[in-house]
């Protein structure tokens, strides 16, 4: 490739810039019964995370005598999208639960809580792409509010490549884009303090050079989200 060709994708649906995020709303303490809870909304995507525990894990054979266990339950509510979703566990929700668990486990300090479990319930009230990222953002805030020891906060964002244009925080309409090279969706979770990435998924195709560019855009977006999370936690009391 000598010179970059022009991308077919030039304008975003809500008139956003390519690296702009949707409007973010964050609030902690939305579920009074839980030990910690948070709401994270990114445009039309709304996630509520509630954290219960650390508490003793039963049955006993599931306990880990060395450290605590993290359990994530991701669930999309039936009314979260236009076509009703069948309630209950699906193949997709199981995968996202597991992936979220892996994304969160590097930041949670579980060594001091042997034989316990921390349950995280993520419910998607309304979905317009980026639900796993909104879920991780909400879960990180809820964990902090629940007083769980953590190394640092975690923020997540979905970066996309639409034809040849790299954009941050894709919406459903963009995910379905199929002109030119088509749409690539790349959710990532970033630890703002240490600069590590704890979740990176890729749906579609992307060149290695463009991937680096996309990661940089994602990191910048995650830093913005981190500021929002910080503000919400500090204003909670």
């Amino acid at each position: 490739m000598t010179k970059e060709e022009k991308s077919l994708y030039t304008e975003r649906p809500e008139g956003r810039k390519f690296d702009d995020l949707r409007e973010i709303k964050a609030k902690v303490g939305v579920v009074p019964n839980a030990d910690g809870s948070a709401m994270f909304a990114q445009g039309d995507t709304i996630a509520i995370a509630s954290v219960y525990g650390p508490k003793t894990l039963n049955p006993k054979h599931c306990q880990n005598p060395e450290k605590g266990v993290l359990r994530v339950h991701y669930n999309m509510l039936p009314f979260s999208v236009h076509d009703r979703i069948k309630p209950g566990i699906s193949r997709r929700s199981q995968e996202i639960s597991k992936v979220t668990e892996w994304a969160l486990s590097p930041v949670v300090i579980l060594d001091e809580l042997p034989g316990t479990v921390i349950d995280i319930h993520i419910n998607i009230l309304q979905a317009n792409a980026g639900t796993r990222c909104a879920g991780i953002n909400a879960a990180a805030m809820a964990l902090a509010q629940a007083g769980v020891p953590m190394k640092e906060m975690i923020s997540a964002i979905a970066v996309g490549k639409l034809d040849k244009t790299i954009v941050a925080d894709v919406v459903k309409e963009e995910e379905d884009y199929d002109d030119g090279e088509g749409a690539t969706d790349m959710p990532m979770a970033y630890l703002s303090n240490s600069g590590k990435i704890s979740l990176l998924q890729l749906d579609g195709r992307i060149q290695i050079s463009r991937m680096k560019e996309a990661l940089e855009m994602g990191k910048e977006a995650c830093k913005k989200i981190h500021e929002v999370q910080k503000k919400a936690l500090k204003e909670a009391e």
Partner: protein, 241 residues
Amino acid sequence: MTKEKREIVIPGEIIGSGDDFLPGDWTVKQGKDIVATRYGIIEKQDRLIKVIPISGVYIPRGGNTVIGEIKDINFNGWQVEIGGPYGAFLMLRECPGFIEESEMENVYGVGDLIVTKIFNVKRTSVDLTMKSRDGGLGKIRDGLIIKVNPHRVPRIIGKEGSMIHLIKEATGCSITVGQNGLIWIKGDNVDSRLYAKHAIEFIVENTIVGGLTEKVEAWLKDNKDKYKVSLKENKVSEGEN
């Protein structure tokens, strides 16, 4: 307590740097920086920086007086729920007097609430005792139990029990504060118990505000007429923490 509102920190936030500070509770040293590992407020004591948690489950500590519920009876003791990550166990030999094994149910039955004391915190369990030199431990037979955030308990008790004493005097109730966030209010009538309950709720809502003792005094004065409190029998409580 001098500042109006203390600074809240989040996990991963740098709260001090350089060699002038030492990391205390819930902080770690990363290179030159001291980083918080828990959501809470900062406290600086000379060179030591620590984070005081403001939320989360109760963490049992040895010597704490707590209020627990009997969950099960074994041959050698009682399983007690005191909140927090681990279960607690009250051994038969930690109860004063001789108790026949067949009599255990009559002493503390399943569902009973007891005021008890933690004497040992093990890695994954807690040992309780009913033997105490200060007294005040035993079964709860009447009164009102309220639940608050366990991290607010130090403010409810106040310095050397000043705050709780203030409420006891104003309401005429006997109040036992469990470190696990359960509070037992024993009073002559419903009104005085509610008066005490609402006073405690007022403290919980305004924990971070400075000059709390004066504010509670003012609150107690302002709201006195709402409750029909008789201070004839101003008993001094037996179970103080």
